[in-house]
Amino acid sequence: MEQSAAPAIRLEHVSKWFGKLKVLQDVDLTVNRGEHIVLCGPSGSGKSTLIRCINRLEEVQEGRILVDGVELRGDGRNAEDIRRHVGMVFQQFNLFPHMTALENCMLAPRRIHRIGKDEARARAMGHLERVHLADHAQKYPAQLSGGQQQRVAIARALCMNPDILLFDEPTSALDPEMVKEVLDTMVELADAGITMICVTHEMGFARAVAHRVIFMDRGEILESAPPEEFFSAPPARTRPDLPRPDPQPLRGASP
C-alpha cells in the first residue's frame, strides 16, 4: 500500500470550538508509526478533546486530520472506517455491562470483520490471555475489579487489530493498587510496537515507554520533547502562570 509511507496520524492546523469556547488552537501534530506519545497538561486543557478528534468522536471546525494518510471527511462519512483501525480506551472503561468479558471482546469483530463465532472467540481469548484475564472471560463487568475491567477494555480494543491505540486517562478512575496492573499491560503493548497516544499523568509510564511527551495548555501544544529532555529542561510549562505537572509520581515506582 502506498499509504504505508504516511505517518500514523497527522493533525494540520486543527482548531475546535465548543460553542464559543475554543478548546483546540491551531494544533499541529505528527505521530509516526510505532511511536508512543504521552499527552499531559492541566485539567480542561483539551487533551481528551484532541484524541477524541482523531477517531472523530468530536468534530473539528478547522484544519485537517489524517489517519494512515486518509483524511477524515468533514461529513464524517469515513469515520467508521477509520475507527476500525484506531482503538480507544476510556477512563471509565465503558464495558458493555450485559455482556461477559468474552462477549465484550467478540461483538465488534463479529459485526465488522464478519468472522464466525469460533474465530471471534479464539481471537478474544487470545487477547484476554495477553492481558492475563483468560480465567475471567465468563465474568460480567460488575464482577470484575476496576483494573480487570480496564484490561478487558484494552483486550476489546485489541480484538479489532488496531494499528493505533488512544488512551484517555486509563488509570485515573482506578484505585491506586490497580494502577500498576493496567500500566504493566500498556507497557507490554508498547513493547509490541503499536502506535499509541496516551493521555496520562503517570510520569513513570511516560519515562518508560514514551518517545515523546507533549504538554498542552488551553488548547495549545506548548512543548513536545523526548522524556529525558522533557523532565530535565525548564521550558514553557514552567512559565510561572502555568501549572507544572509533577514529574515524579509513578505509583509503585516511587516510595
Binding site: R83, F96, A153
Partner: protein, 222 residues
C-alpha cells in the same frame, strides 16, 4: 336484604368464561408484542435526525395519550369503515390495543434509552460499529432493563383495559361476563367473580413478565 346469592350459573357457564380468559390473554399478548415493537420504532423516529419524522412521532404519541381508549376503539371499529378500512371486532380490538400500547411504550422506552450512559454509545462508535448495531447490541438490553418494571405495569394495565373492547362485542372475558349476565341476571356474582379472575390474570401476567425479565434482561450489576 332479600337477594339470595347463587354462584351456580357460573359453573354452568365455565366454558364461556374459560374461552373469555383465553381470548383476553391472546389479544393482550399480541398487543403487548406489537405495541412494544411499534413503541421501539416510534422511539427511533423520535430520536432520528429528521425533524419531520420526530414531529410525526411526537404528534402520534401525544394524540394517543390524550384521547380516551374507548374513543380510539370506536374510531377504529365504527369510524374507519368510512375510509374503506373494515375490521371484525377482534381485529379492531387488537389494532386499537396495539396502537394504544405503542404510544405508552414509546414514552417508557425513550426513558430507558436516555438512561444508558453516553459512554456506552461512544465505546460502540470507537469500535467502528454503525448506529443500528449500537442500538441493537449495546443500548437495547440495558435500556429495556432500566425501564422493565414500568413496562410490565403498562402491560398489566393493557390487559385490564382490554375489557373495554367488550363495547364493540369483541369476544373476551368481559364480553363473556355480559353475555352470562344477560342470560342469568346474576350480576353481582358474575362481575365479582370476573373481577377476581382479572386479579388472578394480572398476578399471573406479572409473574410471567418477571420471569421473562430475569431470563432476558438481567445481568450482574454493582
Amino acid at each position: 336484604m332479600s337477594y339470595q346469592f347463587d354462584f351456580s350459573p357460573l359453573l354452568t357457564y365455565w366454558p364461556e368464561l374459560a374461552a373469555g380468559i383465553v381470548q383476553t390473554l391472546r389479544i393482550s399478548c399480541i398487543a403487548m408484542v406489537a405495541g412494544l415493537v411499534l413503541g421501539i420504532a416510534l422511539t427511533a423516529l423520535r430520536m432520528s435526525p429528521s425533524r419531520p419524522l420526530r414531529w410525526l412521532a411526537v404528534s402520534y404519541i401525544e394524540l394517543v395519550r390524550n384521547t380516551p381508549f374507548l374513543v380510539q376503539i370506536f374510531f377504529i371499529f365504527f369510524g374507519l369503515p368510512a375510509l374503506g378500512l373494515r375490521f371484525d371486532a377482534t381485529q379492531a380490538a387488537v389494532l386499537a390495543m396495539s396502537l394504544n400500547c405503542s404510544a405508552y411504550a414509546a414514552e417508557i422506552v425513550r426513558g430507558g434509552v436516555q438512561a444508558v450512559p453516553k459512554g456506552q454509545v461512544e465505546a460502540g462508535r470507537a469500535l467502528g460499529l454503525g448506529t443500528a448495531d449500537i442500538y441493537r447490541f449495546i443500548v437495547f438490553r440495558p435500556a429495556i432493563r432500566a425501564i422493565y418494571p414500568s413496562l410490565c405495569s403498562q402491560f398489566v394495565l393493557l390487559m385490564l383495559n382490554s375489557s373495554l373492547v367488550a363495547a364493540i362485542s369483541a369476544e373476551e372475558l368481559t364480553y363473556a361476563a355480559q353475555m352470562i349476565d344477560n342470560r342469568t341476571f346474576r350480576s353481582f356474582e358474575i362481575f365479582a367473580v370476573v373481577g377476581l379472575l382479572y386479579l388472578a390474570l394480572s398476578q399471573c401476567l406479572s409473574l410471567v413478565l418477571a420471569a421473562i425479565g430475569r431470563a432476558y434482561f438481567s445481568y450482574p450489576s454493582k
